[in-house]
Assembly symmetry: C2
Homo-oligomer: 119 residues x 2
């Protein structure tokens, strides 16, 4: 079974998590039966590690990690692979795929440009 | 005349700027005659302040700042208004509008969810 983690930065602001919740709910509604978790680098809960544990506990074998970042910076290029490496040690039976950052996707760029024009 | 600033976080990674460039180019292509600048909080050039100077030098009177952030955290809720406040002191004739974070926009959430499913 496959599971999805939406990987975000995290923030001290409580309202920060809302767009992540909305995205997770939309993914879950479109793929019932595919577990989807949020996992944050810092400050916001649950952490990436907790998200992986939750998926493992549900019997997931392949984890697709989707970076909810605009572009590949340190958090995506260095922090994420490091943490996935640690998770592979803890969960040797799990397979991990890291997707492209959402901000590099044509449809996301298109939607951001439209917002910039219409806002 | 109106101008637009796409306001991003910034990163030490040189490839980080590419999705921002793509978004800016798309906005500029759809609205020829409306100046569009990138402006970053830190690490990546140009800074938000430089972007404002560039627009002012082009005769812009109203600056729409579009936060290229997924959600309102400290950078959007505190750092951005502080910097805009300073810019209002430097450029008293300029008007500023701050748009909603791109990550709070339905079409962006939709595109991120589709990417999470298809990636």
């Amino acid at each position: 079974m496959k599971g999805i983690i939406l990987f975000g930065h995290g923030s001290r602001s409580p309202e920060y998590v809302q767009p992540f919740n909305r995205t997770r709910d939309l993914v879950a509604a479109r793929q019932p039966g595919v577990p989807v978790e949020l996992g944050f680098l810092e400050l916001t809960q649950p952490s990436l590690e907790e998200a992986i544990e939750r998926l493992a506990a549900q019997g997931v074998q392949t984890v697709k990690v989707v970076p909810i970042f605009f572009a590949p910076g340190k958090h995506v290029l260095k922090d994420l692979p490091e943490r996935i490496g640690n998770a592979m040690d803890r969960f040797p039976a799990l397979e991990f795929d890291i997707a492209t950052c959402v901000g590099e996707v044509d449809a996301v760029i298109e939607a951001m440009a439209s917002h910039a024009i219409e806002a």
